[in-house]
Structure formats: structure tokens, C-alpha cells
Symmetry: C2
Subunit: 203 residues, 2 copies
DNA sequence: ACACAAGCATACCGGTCGGTATGTAATTCG
DNA sequence: CGAATTACATACCGACCGGTATGCTTGTGT
């Protein structure tokens, strides 16, 4: 009774939808493909989600955000050495051997680029996630500013905005170039930028 | 005889296709919309372009690249004070009052994000343009390195890669946030990064 | 055990998509 | 001027799209 059958079906749909959307974008994502991949039918899908848009929004809320939270937001939020953690996350991201990230890009960024100008609901939800990201980075910088690790003249909000933007930019360029090597190079530069915010180049 | 009728028709199609693609992306771009906007018919379109893909590739080659060349590549290439010109371009981009750039994003980046994983032809052409961009920035840095304006320990290739990536990242984030103000803030940070490559923070 | 709702399958719909076959008007060239 | 090619218009096609109506099956509460 803990996990009902219906929840499993919903979950299968969400995951398949995420994969399909990640691969083709939302508009080009095919309901038929999702059903083929899950082995389910339209009856199942439209029982759980009234429209394709609703399915997309659910993917954003329950898959995309959860992933980013687990991989980035949460580690940043709970870190005692925020900037160091940020640098670690940037380095890890730059060393990703999982091609998925490089080949298909960041799901959040992909959806933002495609859907934000087209659909208000998408835009709102995606920007909320993005603002959480920025807020976590800004919080990390501010905490280490108070701790004397980050220079006192740094505009933490602007820096956080830039870090997230550049981050997504690096992923995007690496994706289009399909180059793991360039991605590493690029993230290394971002690393340098973050380091330049510290007091004397240390940590 | 200088501009034949047929060239005008082709040009109208190219421009309308560019607008439609810029607005909806390539896959969601509707042939019907392009024809509606131009007042032409399928006969005209498929006379000049055998397939939709061909039309898209022509848009890339003859519109997107030409725009970037006129606005960025060419000024960089012909500048006697490369880094200063680069900073000026970044500032200008950050102060763009034309909402088009912010609302719809960079055509090159939009297409790269959407099409590079899906179509080899698109990927090749788009990456070629991107590599020109990087090469121009790298050249600018190298020339000013030789001139003693840029620090000697700077990895110009990596820095150029990062500058272009961050640039596109800033445009992308600003687009999804639809925020001119944040875009300005973000490009200002990029400005600072470029400045940090100079010898003593000057120029 | 029975009623009733939830979960899911099947068949079908109108609309739009990119693409094509064919016809006609305009242009070029011998 | 006449023939042939170019430049376009019109009508139509099959495929796929998201969405719906309907019915069967399974589970749930009493």
C-alpha cells in the first residue's frame, strides 16, 4: 500500500516524458514515443495528466527541480564552506564523464530556451527554479563574505547571476560542440572567476 | 538585371524563415506561417529550397552568420585595439534596448541548443560559426597579449571559449527571465572578467 | 459479496505537418 | 517571334500530432 500501482504508472510516465523532452525538447516531444517507451497507452496518460502541457509542467516540478536540488541546491545550502563546495560542484560538473549532460545539455536550460518565450506557465516555473539556483549561489557567496573568505567589495547578487549564467552557457556550448574537453576547459575558467572573488586567490 | 525577381523572392523567404525560426525554433517553425508572412505559396518555396532543412541551413549561412559577422566578428577582426573593442561590444550588447535580443535570444544559440543534438548538418554549420566567434575573440586577446595589454599568463584559447560561452549564457538567462536589468548586470560581470585578463585592471 | 469508482486500453477524430504532382504565367534565349 | 526553361500557384497526399469518447478491468470501501 506504500506505493500504489497508480503511482508507479505515473512515475513511469514522468520519467519517460523527461527523457523524451530532454532528447527532443517539449514541443517536438511525442506523446506516442512516451507511450511506446513505457508500454502504456493514451488512456493511462490522459488519466494522470489532462494535457501535454500539464505533463511537461509536472516533469519540471517533479523531475527537473528534484535533480538540481539533489545535485546542486542541497549541497550548497547545507555546506559549511559554501564557496569551496561551489568550486567542487563546478569541478565535478566539468569532469562529468556521463555524456548525457554534454550530449543533451541541462534540462532546465533546454526548456527555458525553448519554452519561456512561448508559454507563461513554463516560464514562471522554470524561472522559479533558476532563481532558487541563483539564490543558493548568492547565499553561499554572502556567507563566505561574512566569514571573510570572499572579498567585501563583491556584489554577491550580480556575481551569482553571472555564475549561473556562465555555467549554463558552458553546458550549452559544450553540448553543441559535443566536446567534453572544451567543457572542462570552460568550467575551469569559471572556477578561476569564482576564485577571483576570494580575498587573495586562496580557496 | 542586377537584382533579379527570383533573388528578391528568395530573400523574402529567407527573412521570413529567419523570423519564424527565431520565434518558434526550427522544428516548430511552420512553412505555412512563412508563406503567409511572405504572401507566397509552396510552389515558390519548394522551387528555391528542396526541403525545410535546406531552408534552415540557408538561413544559418546567409542570415545568422551575416548578422554576427556584421555586429561582432568584423568589428573584432578589424580593430586596432582588440580588447577595448571587445569590451565595447559586450557593453553595447548589455545595453541593448532592442527587446528582440532579450525576448527571443541569440538566433545562433537558440538553433545550437535545439538542433545540434538532432541534425548533423545543422551541428556542423552552427559550430563553424561558433568557432569563428571564438577564434576572433582568441585573436583579439592574443594580439593584445603581444601588445602587452593582456597578461602573459592568460590562456587565450580557454579564455575566448569561456567569454563566448558566458556571453551566450547571459543572453539565454536574460531571455528566459525576460529581464533587461539582469542582462545588464550579467554582462557587466563578463566585462569585469575580461578586464581581469588585462595587465593591471586598466583597459 | 456487492456497488462504485479508479485505473487503464482501444478506437477514433479534426487539424496540421512537410512534401509532391501538375498546371500556368513569366522570362530567357536562339 | 517562337521554343524552352525558369518561376511561381493550386490542389492534393499520407503521416503524425494532441486530444476524446467509450468500454473493460481492477481495486476499494462497506
Amino acid at each position: 500500500m506504500v506505493t500504489r500501482q497508480t503511482d508507479l504508472t505515473r512515475d513511469k510516465l514522468l520519467r519517460a516524458a523527461f527523457d523524451e523532452i530532454h532528447l527532443h525538447g517539449f514541443q517536438a516531444a511525442s506523446i506516442a514515443n512516451i507511450l511506446r517507451d513505457t508500454g502504456l497507452t493514451k488512456g493511462a496518460l490522459y488519466h494522470h495528466f489532462p494535457t501535454k502541457q500539464t505533463l511537461g509542467l509536472a516533469v519540471i516540478d517533479e523531475v527537473v527541480e528534484a535533480q538540481l536540488d539533489a545535485w546542486i541546491f542541497s549541497p550548497l545550502r547545507e555546506s559549511g564552506q559554501p564557496v569551496q563546495t561551489l568550486l567542487k560542484l563546478i569541478d565535478e560538473s566539468g569532469r562529468k564523464t556521463e555524456l548525457e549532460t554534454i550530449v543533451l545539455g541541462c534540462p532546465l536550460n533546454n526548456l527555458m530556451q525553448e519554452m519561456s518565450p512561448l508559454d507563461e506557465e513554463f516560464k514562471t516555473r522554470l524561472n522559479r527554479i533558476l532563481s532558487v539556483w541563483q539564490a543558493e549561489v548568492e547565499g553561499a557567496l554572502k556567507r563566505d563574505k561574512k566569514a571573510g573568505v570572499v572579498r567585501s567589495d563583491v556584489d554577491c547578487r550580480a556575481a551569482a547571476l553571472f555564475i549561473v549564467s556562465a555555467w549554463e552557457g558552458c553546458v550549452g556550448i559544450a553540448k553543441s560542440q559535443q566536446s567534453l574537453k572544451n567543457f572542462g576547459l570552460c568550467m575551469k575558467q569559471l572556477h578561476h572567476y569564482v576564485q577571483s572573488l576570494a580575498v587573495s586567490g586562496e580557496e
